[in-house]
Symmetry: C2
């Protein structure tokens, strides 16, 4: 799963990098669009926080085997969908398809949060900033789709 | 610590974003420079892995209080230095200062790895890709400094 995710991410990245620099600046943006610099900083922090959450849940494997496995499976799925979103939005330059996908991503993060908090209270809380940020990203994606349709 | 880190990161980011797009492409690069797309993909994965490692170590707090606290302190220090590097390299456009700092960063990651592996074997292994990547980044920074001095 990790290998697939990284591989998928790498291919996506190769396709998408130019698009970030050339296509994205030309789009009409909603008023609540943050400065570009906010994205790498937010994501660095959120990736570390979601990782810590997954580590705390993993540590309960021997106590709640089924719940932990299910939680970590959903964690892997949401991470793969997170990487896929970049490919759909920037690689395919398709905000509508990306919008459909980010709704599924949001639901998978919600499910991961729901499973994590049953296993480890702090792990649940550590997923909250991520869920809030993706809620915001979803609104941003919707705004960009609407203003450029 | 987290708030300071995020705040520092945010200010750094505001300063550095333009630099990534305009200054970095003009630099002479060593032959082993990866495509730009490699950076966000590598970092996303490494942030999640280091987070999982920190979560696993955190889970041992009640068993090895002192070692865990020390490990997580070094983890916070290395993460702050990781954010600071972007500011020195891109914000100040100073590869020499960034090179000095990345050597300290490397040593802090090494110390974090050393402390983590004593607390939790898997957590130690999860820090290895990060240590290898920063070794590579150090060489890249040195090459860029040398070719543009």
């Amino acid at each position: 799963m990790v290998a697939t995710t990284v591989g998928l991410g790498y291919i996506s990245g190769l396709v998408t990098q130019t698009s970030v620099d050339t296509w994205y600046p030309t789009l009409n943006k909603p008023s609540f669009t943050p400065p570009n610099a906010a994205f790498p900083i937010a994501w660095s922090t959120l990736y570390v926080l979601m990782g810590i959450a997954a580590g705390l849940v993993w540590s309960r494997l021997d106590m709640q085997r089924e719940e932990v496995r299910k939680g970590l499976t959903f964690f892997a799925i949401q991470f793969a969908l997170n990487m896929l979103w970049s490919y759909l939005f920037f690689g395919l330059q398709n905000p509508m398809l990306a919008l459909v996908e980010i709704i599924i991503l949001w639901l998978m993060i919600y499910e991961t949060w729901f499973l994590f908090k049953k296993v480890h209270k702090i792990a649940g809380w550590l997923m909250v900033p991520y869920l809030l940020w993706v809620t915001y990203a979803l609104a941003l994606n919707a705004g960009i789709w609407y203003l450029n349709r």
